[in-house]
Subunit: 468 residues, 2 copies
């Protein structure tokens, strides 16, 4: 097994084969790299454009005057073996093969090229990522494969993806939801290094507190199980499998030449290794959000705080369906609520229907949260932030929304109970996005629907219960 | 049963009890009303403010110089019986009681007040909507109960809601997704008129082509079943029940004093009456979108068009899980695709992974769609619109996105097969919203996730199959 330390901590990066026709996608994405960035390009017509980007170009890897920690190879498939050979000879820290057209095409030629590359890399002990992938994204070091990915920030989620798009979307959509990667690996066909190798690395990576994994199939199932078991013993691991159905499994063959693991077997693996399973990017982001921003609940009894009665009903259905208990509050709580709660157009037994009470006097929210903090029948709180309030009341009185945020933060500071929020974008998508960013800036978990909140919180509760 | 024709086609509206403290919410919402709007308010302190809004105020309903078709009653609960009495005596077309504080409070006083109002309305044959509700929204006539609701447009969806918030959110979020109501009724406690009455009316309403229903409980189950059966024989009916769980059912009592129908019984009712069931507002909007904008598919064999390989895999899983068949294309199609499709980083057996091919030459999309139109193995098409394309490529070349829209519209014009699109907002929420509005303006169905698209299209296919 090649050592991955250099490639995950690069001080030098070289891109082989970037060109104008592809919009210099690699060199432009890597312009945020904190170390030295080089280009390797033989085509005289391409060199001036590369130099205009301020990147020094060489004719071969060997000509670069310092050792290269990470190589991006973006050449056509016929040229790829020569670059891999060069990587071995120059003892680079690792190489990612963006190049595709190998086993995933189903063509004989692609399969043969792939075999020769694999053989060379294995014999040369080369850390080869891919082929048919996007490689590495390390925000802290400005290593990126897309120009919209964050840089200069240190994240805490390690993400391993057999799909370049899912890896990219996790980094982009995740960032829009306040989640930044420590290290992200898109590994495509995974002919040398595969998911298990990256799991082993991230399990011991001190910057990585949570691991996400998108996988289609593993060459060595036993190794993957061991790596999952090892990783889950150290940090939460959330898995998402592509190719869950017969048709989806056929699609994985054209995508990464993977024989998708049978779903029933995969489910058993997830269960036995103590990982979590999700079925979409949205779920992946929701669950990681819940892991990062919600305290562990002591039990499954939730108090639901809605603005209006209709929402209180469907919010309750959503949580109850996910196994949450929505109990009537303690007698002491009911008595205290009875003193000030507006019951005309409101109710407080749990769920709460509280718009009237909170609008009457904003201090009432603190009062409500205090009562729930003291209620021994309640382990967790989930609060609706209403889009219609967002559209009118909070648009007119932004200080009232700020006050609400302060109340939530103050509760989170003094209480051991998790409190999460739900804000459906509804018809005020721009305002809801702005509000979401305010919540995220304060590290308050906010979900986009009752169902998504209930599901993510339930999955996380299960994971925490299983892993003690 | 009171006749509902006048109240649903009002030429005159009177609001009783609107005031400054509530922001004149009723008079401001109704400023778009196409007929004559009046106010009834006794409080001398409130009258100048009302007249400043340009609304003529009277001291009682009887003083208004013309018959009133629709009354909004926004007085405190103790005053409500007097207004209901006035409505009977003045033979108004109908009245909605925004007033709450009745049986839903669980208090004796509230129950008694409700009983007296019910008795008066029944004896006076008064079309009483509510109490504890938002009443009517008729966009074409500018009848609204929220200032962000559309007006001056004629919609085709009748929506009946036991919850004011769900009714309001359907009209607001629906409008943001291109769906406008013909008539919307929020009926709260439903003590005189209930869901069955509105179903009967909308079943025969020529402006209403689709019916949506949010319900918590029915007083007369047998009548509701008959009304559902009658309505589904004339147009599609999509139902959403609140109080599906024990805890949710408890919440309905505080909300609309409803004893929620047992969920197993409700499921049987839905099945037997040929209605559809959904579980959230998002699902309601998705299904109505699919009904309005997708042609009926001849069968369940779908071709999935994704931009990248990873998306092609999870798009396939999402549709296959919802019962869609994702077959390999016909030999004739495969042969034609083999002539031009880019298989390095792409594939075409179904699902399609087509970014490379379409980017190479935009005409290739028309070619792809033509081949699928001719393929006898395919009944329906679902196409991913990529957020990362939206962020970069289409942002730089908006004409390329316009061309894509033209290709979709041209296909829809020449093909009998439904074609729907999916655009996840991802990290480009503003751009995705803009793109969604462009799609909606062209009556192209666009869903926000693979799962939501697959589910809505499957539900609609079931409904259409069941109802022949």
């Amino acid at each position: 097994m090649p050592d991955l330390t250099r490639v995950f901590n690069p001080k030098t990066v070289a891109v082989v084969g970037d060109k104008k026709a592809s919009g210099y996608m690699w060199l432009k994405s890597l312009k945020t790299f904190t170390g030295n960035l080089y280009s390797v390009q033989l085509d005289e017509n391409e060199i001036p454009g590369i130099e205009e980007l301020g990147v020094q170009n060489f004719k071969s890897l060997g000509e670069i005057p310092e050792p290269i920690d990470f190589v991006v190879c973006a050449v056509p498939r016929q040229v790829a073996p020569y670059i891999v050979k060069d990587c071995v000879e120059n003892q680079v820290g690792g190489v990612t093969l963006f190049t595709s057209g190998f086993a995933e095409t189903g063509e004989e030629q692609g399969r043969e090229l792939q075999d020769s590359i694999e053989k060379m890399a294995r014999e040369g002990d080369l850390a080869l990522i891919g082929p048919n992938c996007m490689g590495l994204h390390i925000p802290e070091l400005g290593v990126r494969f897309n120009q919209d990915q964050p840089s200069g920030v240190k994240g805490d989620v390690g993400f391993i993806s057999q799909s370049g798009t899912h890896g990219m979307n996790f980094s982009l959509t995740g960032a829009a939801h306040g989640i930044v990667c420590s290290k992200l690996i898109s590994f495509g066909n995974g002919i040398v290094l595969e998911a298990a190798d990256y799991l082993d690395y991230l399990a011991d990576d001190p910057d990585t507190k949570y691991i996400g994994l998108y996988i289609e199939g593993a060459r060595d199932g036993r190794r993957l199980i061991e790596a999952l078991r090892n990783a889950t013993s150290k940090k939460p691991v959330v898995t998402w499998k592509g190719g869950q159905t017969a048709a989806g499994s056929r699609a994985t063959q054209s995508h990464t030449a993977s024989l998708a693991t049978d779903q029933a077997i995969w489910d058993a693996i997830v269960r036995q290794t103590g990982a979590l399973a999700v079925d979409s990017l949205d779920e992946m982001i929701d669950v990681i959000k819940a892991l990062r921003l919600s305290k562990p609940a002591a039990g499954n009894r939730v108090c639901l705080l809605a603005m209006t009665g209709g929402q209180s009903v469907v919010l309750t259905d959503a949580f109850a369906k996910e196994g949450w208990d929505v109990p009537i509050l303690s007698d002491a709580s009911l008595e205290k609520f009875g003193e000030f709660f507006n019951v005309i157009g409101g109710s407080y037994r749990n769920p709460l229907d509280m718009a009237g009470t909170v609008s009457q006097d904003p201090k009432n929210l603190d009062r409500i949260l205090d009562i729930l903090n003291d209620d021994p029948r309640i382990d967790a709180l989930a609060m609706e932030l209403s889009a219609t309030f967002m559209a009118r009341r909070w648009a007119d009185k932004p200080e009232e929304f700020e006050r609400l945020l302060d109340s939530i933060k103050a509760f989170q500071a003094r209480s051991d109970k998790p409190l999460i929020t739900i804000l459906h974008p509804s018809h005020v998508e721009a305002a809801a996005l702005d509000a979401r960013q305010k919540l995220q800036a304060r590290d308050i978990a906010v979900f986009q629907s009752f169902e998504r909140a209930a599901s993510a919180m339930a999955k996380v509760a299960t994971l925490r219960a299983d892993n003690g």
